[in-house]
């Protein structure tokens, strides 16, 4: 375990260093992809327990707006402090909504979580103080008083994203190997037996929901800092649909799945948009169908297949 943690840390440092030499567009694309990967890692926790949330956009958007609004009103641009606010607010909201959502399963969980994200969307679209449907610009962030200007600006957001993904990734990896983590799969298989074994299904799901919300808020906050602009579209159901798409694409078998899925998703979208601006959605749709049909466990299953062949 120690070794794999070191490996992930090493990979994080390597990816961070690669950012120094990457072209600007790729840094930006990777930052957004990693931020989405964070959201999807949270989704992965829920999906392991058999719950598919079609409403992670709620916390993604809320995290972004927290960063934007706090940056404006609190007169602070400290990136880490803004992230902390985003995570705390998201977890606080999830603590209330989670109480209700824990009672639902399957399609009802999906629909109900979607309803909550649409409520936020509806509120934001009509609130002129936050720029209604246009959203508003986020002030450039600071890191411990250091103002990155020009070139290093995007690099800072990139560094934040890589650090966050590395830290959260290690956490999720260890969490999934803890009793609480294994309980998720048990809940998916059979809830009543989990209850017989003396665990509270509600508590298991509740904690997973809080963790997922925190990760989505973090992802949203990083997106806000990286993109410099936020709008209510982040809470629209299509954004949440994207997250589920990415989760399915990367596969839920491993923590790396969401990150690979997110990067792949952003690459496909960018190239599809460039090659044919009118049919990029169609290309995404076909990719999704192909994955459901031929790679039901996501892209990660390819990696697994490869390593298994090597060891056997």
């Amino acid at each position: 375990m120690r070794n794999s943690t070191l490996l992930v840390l090493g990979a994080g440092v390597a990816v961070m260093a690669a950012g120094m030499v990457m072209p600007g567009w790729l840094t930006f694309l990777l930052t957004l992809a990693l931020a989405k990967g964070l959201v999807v890692m949270g989704l992965l926790l829920l999906m392991k327990a058999g719950l598919v949330s079609f409403g992670q956009g709620l916390y993604y958007c809320l995290g972004a707006y927290c960063v934007g609004v706090a940056g404006d009103y609190l007169e602070t641009q400290n990136a880490l402090f803004l992230m902390l606010i985003a995570v705390v607010v998201c977890v606080a909201l999830a603590a209330v909504i989670g109480l209700l959502l824990c009672r639902y399963r399957d399609i009802f969980f999906a629909m109900f979580s979607m309803a909550f994200s649409m409520i936020l969307y509806g509120v934001l679209v009509k609130s002129s103080a936050f720029g209604s449907s246009d959203g508003f610009n986020v002030k450039p962030p600071l890191l411990f008083g250091w103002t990155p200007t020009g070139e290093p600006g995007p690099l800072m957001a990139y560094g934040l994203a890589v650090t966050a993904v590395t830290v959260v990734g290690i956490f999720v990896w260890n969490y999934l190997r803890s009793p609480m983590g294994y309980a998720g799969e048990a809940v998916r298989e059979n809830e009543i037996r989990v209850e017989y074994l003396g665990s509270s299904v509600r508590r298991i799901i509740y904690i997973k929901y809080l963790l997922a919300a925190a990760m989505a808020g973090l992802g949203g906050g990083i997106t806000a800092l990286a993109a410099g602009h936020i709008d209510p579209e982040m809470a629209y159901w299509t954004t949440s649909g994207e997250f589920v798409f990415i989760a399915l694409m990367g596969g839920t078998g491993h923590v790396a799945g969401p990150v690979i899925g997110a990067v792949l998703f952003e690459l496909i979208r960018t190239y599809a948009f460039q090659i044919s601006p009118y049919t990029w959605q169609m290309i995404l749709g076909i990719a999704l169908l192909a994955i459901i049909l031929y790679l039901p466990k996501g892209v990660w299953s390819l990696v697994e297949r490869f390593t298994k062949e090597k060891t056997s």
Binding site: I107, F108, A115, M118, T279, Q281, M282, I292
Partner: protein, 298 residues
């Protein structure tokens, strides 16, 4: 008083529109256990084909009353065509998968169809207002309503009646109810479940397209209308209980009236109130108002 009448009428008109969309969605879910995201695309396809067909028809100088037949014809042809293509070509090989996976499959279809629509009709808006203005307006308690909207109420009522009659008073409907109740037993007793699926999906698709083509005269038809509509239809269907036609009717009325109350009293809450009502209903009736109870796996 005037306000109350305006609120009620607007609410009922909006509810009839919602019901036509939601009926197809809930029917497909009830029989096939597929929550069809592509339903929004059926709606958009219906709207586009209705609007462009009416445009062609009126440009040819034929009697304007025929435009209503064009709307109906466009919905039936385009809905049936898309329905058959998708069910036979794609969904058929996906049956038996998890409900949530099926949502994603239909989400993929939605993405594909959105671009297919853009490829066929382009990105410019279409207008087919003639059928809307042709019927004129009626004054009711000092408020003027478009007759087309009032006619929509009757159309929704007849669709509701036809669905009820078809499901409860015909042989095919009874067989379909058997499939809804227990798919395996129905297949075991010799009902052709696959055929039932195809027919249901086509009927659902036609209903979605019909909602689109009937709405087309009142709006400007442009890209993205399907994506907005599907989420409203979900709210309606979930409030009423997935798979129940009566539930869709109740859900449509609740959402329609709540929205029109919000629009007249506090416009900022227009979108909020729809999902707020949905949350409130689900908090007390987790499966919706009219859902059939299901057993839990032990």
């Amino acid at each position: 008083m005037k306000l109350v009448i305006a609120m009620l009428m607007d609410g009922v008109i909006y509810a009839s529109w919602l019901f036509i969309i939601a009926a197809g969605l809930t029917l497909i879910y009830g029989v096939m256990r597929i929550l069809n995201m592509a339903h929004g695309s059926f709606y958009a396809i219906g709207a586009y084909s209705g609007a462009s067909l009416v445009g062609f028809y009126l440009a040819g100088g034929y009697p304007p009353w025929g435009a209503y037949l064009m709307l109906l014809g466009a919905a039936i042809v385009s809905g049936a065509l898309v329905g058959i293509l998708i069910e036979r070509g794609l969904l058929r090989i996906m049956y038996g998968r998890d409900e949530v996976v099926m949502i994603l499959v239909t989400y993929a279809i939605l993405l594909i169809l959105e671009d297919v629509i853009k490829l066929i009709w382009g990105v410019d808006a279409y207008f087919a207002y003639q059928p809307y203005t042709l019927l004129g307006r009626t004054k009711m308690a000092g408020i003027s309503f478009a007759n087309y909207d009032i006619a929509l109420i009757f159309v929704a009522a007849s669709i509701c009646f036809l669905l009820w009659w078809g499901l409860n008073r015909t042989r095919q409907g009874k067989l379909l109810q058997a499939v809804i109740h227990d798919r395996d037993t129905a297949a075991f007793l010799g009902i052709n479940v696959t055929k039932m699926f195809s027919i249901t999906f086509v009927i659902g698709a036609v209903l979605g397209a019909l909602a689109g083509s009937l709405t087309a005269p009142g709006i400007s038809v442009m890209p993205g209308i399907g994506v907005e509509v599907i989420i409203l239809a979900f709210a309606v269907v979930v409030i009423g209980g997935l798979g129940s036609v009566g539930g869709a009717l109740m859900g449509a009325l609740i959402v329609g009236l709540a929205r029109s109350a919000a629009v007249h009293l506090y416009p900022e809450a227009e979108l909020f109130v729809i999902y707020g009502v949905m949350g409130l209903v689900l908090a007390f009736r987790p499966q919706g108002l009219f859902a059939i109870a299901t057993a839990r796996k032990i």
